[in-house]
């Protein structure tokens, strides 16, 4: 009878499909989706399609794009949101926060005494064999102790419907800009869908991010530390995000050539000379960040940055050397790390994983290779993944040889049947596989999880890899407001049960009309900088030597390309 309300819009979706988030196996609409489903059905297929098109067009107009094979493309957004119930979100949120806290402790431990190795929680080889440990950072502790200011931990729903952790991203997780833009675009294009549904707002993110970055500054930076976002440049695939975050936080977006190190301090080049920088939100990979320590050929880095960090004159977020936290072999130990450091039971479970360096596990994996997924421990963006059931015999043979040669370089997992969500394709809404990346911010006092997160959806039928580099799209993710306080129980190793209660009644919800970047305006209201702060921070004597080294060519960088003005050389050559 509920089927009936599944009007023509959802006619293409067959009942009994396994693991769909909107439709239960018997074809009925699940409770959390009911009002959304009815509102969508009321729109009718034609109206829904035409608004979906204007949604796509608005992304092109706004320049919400990502770089795909050197080409700027609009990021595909699907108009059917994903809905997550308040109680389930409380669990996810507590689980993410727990995981981040454990990973923070783990990084602190690894870069100081490595107690976890001495206590036998993780094997010495894990720490010893990872290419991600940065020796230069050993013994360094950031001013407020935080290394994972921003994280994006990927979750999937398995066959039984519960969320599991697929991988940790504590280096440079991207995608939060799409969470903000998706919400803004959806509220503009489908305002009536938000009516009567208390969807929790995502607009707080930029303000929270700025607070977390400010909190990371050293004490001597004062009340108003200078924060910048460091981007590899306009040709980076996530440039749109770097720009949006800088803009919504009201801070400068700098490229490496805008920064310079002098006397173990970092400055940016402004129209009024050099200005001191206290906190850098880096979006450049560690390998490229400082040619003095990492790749000497990098032009995306700031020579001397690591020296400035070690001298406690600048803080970089996320911490340099966090890569070991993303290592997929580390991932397999995170549940143990949670028990070891926090004395708690993991709230979110891992996907079952085989460690290939363990002989029995390796034997089993080699035997069942055609039914498993094999991933490189240092991969991201879906690169290097081999999915057994869809691989050819040759691919499997090649994989087998590589596993035997380098077992430390790989992990294996069963094929997880990702949940599906109805998604608009040519033929109408059809179930497509999706994952979820919630974003968390650690200010040192508290790990805050953005109520929403990025839902990525694989657009080709049956495809399990959702990355945008593989043709994936995204959906607005709705966390419903709770009717009353939510409650999560966390068992601890002492047998005591820790209860997390939260009352979200006062949390902001989306109205469908509100400007989601309200934070932007709030920032503006704070005391403006006096314009006379443009007086250079260094005396001319300080720079006497450097001046000779100055090479104007260095500054031009890639911007000059857009400004080449061939036929006007006559003027400039005067």
């Amino acid at each position: 009878m509920v089927r009936m309300s599944a009007s023509s819009l959802f006619h293409g979706i067959e009942a009994g499909g396994d693991g769909d988030e909107m439709f239960a196996a018997d074809g009925s609409v699940r409770p959390s989706y009911r009002s959304l489903h009815d509102a969508l059905a009321r729109l009718g297929e034609e109206e829904f399609r035409s608004r979906s098109e204007s949604l796509a067009r608005s992304y092109l107009d706004q320049g919400v794009t990502f770089d795909y094979a050197g080409e700027e493309r609009p990021f595909p957004i699907d108009a059917i949101p994903r809905v997550i119930a308040a109680e389930e979100w409380a669990e996810v949120s507590a689980g993410i926060s727990q995981r981040v806290r454990a990973l923070e402790r783990f990084l602190e431990d690894l870069y100081s005494g490595a107690e976890a190795v001495k206590d036998g929680v993780i094997p010495a080889e894990l720490a010893g064999s990872s290419t991600y440990i940065v020796d230069a950072m050993r013994g360094y502790t950031p001013p407020n102790g935080v290394r994972i200011h921003i994280s994006g931990i990927d979750l999937v729903r398995d066959g039984s419907g519960g969320f599991r952790v697929l991988e940790d991203n504590v280096r440079t997780p991207s995608g939060v800009s799409y969470v903000l833009s998706n919400r803004r675009a959806m509220a503009q294009t489908f305002p009536e869908l938000f009516a009567d549904r208390p969807v929790r707002s995502v607009g707080e993110y930029p303000g929270r991010l700025l607070n977390a970055l400010r909190a990371a500054a050293a004490d001597h930076a004062g009340e108003e530390p200078t924060v910048v976002v460091l981007t590899p440049g306009r040709f980076n695939s996530a440039y749109f995000e770097h720009s949006l975050l800088a803009r919504t936080m009201g801070v400068d977006l700098v490229e490496a050539s805008d920064l310079v190190e002098r006397h173990d301090r970092i400055y940016m080049r402004t129209t009024a000379g050099l200005r001191r920088v206290d906190v850098i939100y880096k979006r450049t990979d560690d390998d490229f960040i400082d040619p003095e320590v990492f790749r000497p050929d990098s032009v995306l880095g700031v020579p001397g940055l690591v020296r400035a960090i070690l001298a406690h004159n600048v803080v970089v977020a996320n911490g340099i050397g966090n890569g070991i936290g993303d290592d997929k072999l580390t991932y397999t130990y995170v549940p143990d790390l949670i028990r070891y450091y926090l004395q708690e039971e993991p709230i979110l479970r891992n996907v079952d994983t085989w460690r290939l360096e363990e002989p029995e596990a390796r034997a089993e994996v080699l035997d069942r290779l055609d039914e498993l997924v094999v991933k490189p421990v240092d991969g991201s963006g879906g690169k290097g993944i081999v999915i057994g059931p869809s691989a050819t015999r040759e691919e499997l043979d090649a994989m087998r040889a590589r596993l035997q040669a380098d077992p430390r370089g790989w992990i294996a997992q069963p094929v997880v049947q990702l949940s599906t969500i109805p998604t608009l394709v040519e033929e109408g809404p059809e179930p497509r596989h999706a994952d979820l990346r919630p974003f968390a911010l650690n200010s040192g006092d508290d790990v805050w999880v953005l109520p929403g997160g990025l839902t990525r959806v694989a657009l080709p039928k049956g495809e399990m890899i959702v990355n945008s580099s593989r043709g994936g799209g995204s959906k607005d993710t709705w966390v419903l407001g709770a009717q009353g306080p939510t409650r999560v129980e966390v068992p601890t190793s002492t047998g005591y049960i820790r209860v997390l209660e939260r009352d979200e009644a006062d949390e902001p919800v989306e109205t469908g009309e509100e400007e989601p970047y309200a934070q932007e305006q709030d920032q503006r209201q704070s005391e403006p900088e006096p314009v006379t702060s443009a007086i250079p921070l260094l005396d001319a004597e300080d720079l006497a030597e450097d001046r000779e080294e100055y090479d104007p060519e260095d500054l031009d960088g890639d911007v000059a390309a857009a400004e080449t003005d061939p036929h006007r050389e006559a003027n400039d050559a005067q």
Binding site: L244, A272, G273, P552, V559, E563, H567, N571
Partner: protein, 304 residues
């Protein structure tokens, strides 16, 4: 503000103005070529290329269609309309955090909306589109941006480009021909015809037209007006940077360049300038180049 961003703002100003002016000039010139069947197309096209410093071009390029391909839709040429808009948009993409969202989106849609090819029968619509859209961009800049450094650099780019373009049009003009038709064409190329007619009660005269284009202090496209505005913007910029009171008004190298050029145009006899106007206009273009370099030394790539 960041030097790199200041530089980008300056070039956004220049490129939008360049696209706008190019559309205005081509609209007038190409329309007259296609209307006038008695005229030889090839030399008229060569004259058009000349304005944009693209001469000499091969014989085969001397057709209206090729002018359209190279100066309207060629995105690889920053002096074409589409190319200028593209360059402005690329600079804006690198400076999004200081532009308002409205300005960025307007530039972005303008660039995306430029056609990839155009026939002469439909060219007026394309010129109209470019002019309208540039007006929208400028209007949004005017209405939504704080008058801070970023705005000042954008404004400077726009004004400098405007002077440069006027100088180019005047240099390429055939000053031997003082007929009304040619003079009207000159005025229209600089979007000055209507303003001039109102001022001089319909009396078209070559000498007065040149005086109007160079010296009129209240016509917003005259060289003198733009130079005055440039000087004002430079003064404000200096104050924002907290430089001590510049009593002589001569400390900023850029202001000295502007002041000299302005005095030279205004206080010499117009006859003197007209005597060798091509040379004079060449000099005026060099002034805009020198100004750009002076801004570079002071603000875009300061030695620090």
């Amino acid at each position: 503000m960041l030097s790199r961003i200041a530089d980008a703002m300056f070039w956004i100003g220049r490129y939008v103005e360049r696209a706008d002016q190019t559309a205005r000039i081509l609209d007038v010139r190409l329309q007259s070529i296609t209307e006038d069947v008695t005229d030889d197309v090839a030399p008229a096209c060569a004259a058009v290329y000349d304005i944009f410093g693209m001469g000499p071009v091969p014989e085969t390029d001397l057709s209206v269609q090729t002018v359209l391909d190279r100066l309207v839709t060629d995105r690889g040429n920053p002096s074409s309309i589409a190319g200028g808009l593209q360059a402005a948009r690329e600079n804006a993409r690198g400076a999004r955090e200081v532009l308002t969202t409205e300005v960025w989106e307007s530039l972005n849609t303008t660039t995306l909306g430029m056609p990839h090819g155009v026939r002469s029968s439909r060219m007026h619509a394309v010129f109209q589109y470019a002019k309208d859209r540039c007006a929208v961009v400028n209007g949004l800049v005017d209405a939504s941006m704080t008058r801070d450094e970023a705005w000042l650099f954008l404004r400077l780019g726009q004004l400098i480009e405007r002077v440069d373009m006027s100088a180019r049009v005047l240099e390429a003009h055939d000053h031997e021909d003082t007929s009304d038709t040619t003079t009207v064409m000159l005025l229209r190329s600089c979007s000055a015809h209507e303003a001039y007619i109102r001022d001089y009660r319909g009396q078209v005269n070559a000498q007065r037209a040149i005086g109007f284009l160079l010296l009129d202090s209240i016509f917003p496209r005259s060289a003198a007006h733009c130079l005055l505005q440039i000087d004002e913007a430079l003064e404000t910029l200096g104050k924002l940077h907290g430089s001590t009171f510049d009593r002589m008004g001569t400390e900023d190298p850029a202001r000295r360049i502007v002041g000299r050029a302005l005095a030279s145009l205004r206080y010499r006899a117009l006859e003197d300038i007209r005597g060798d106007i091509e040379q004079e206009m060449e000099q005026l273009q060099k002034v805009t180049g020198a100004l750009t370099r002076a801004l570079g030394t002071t603000y875009f790539h300061p030695a620090a």
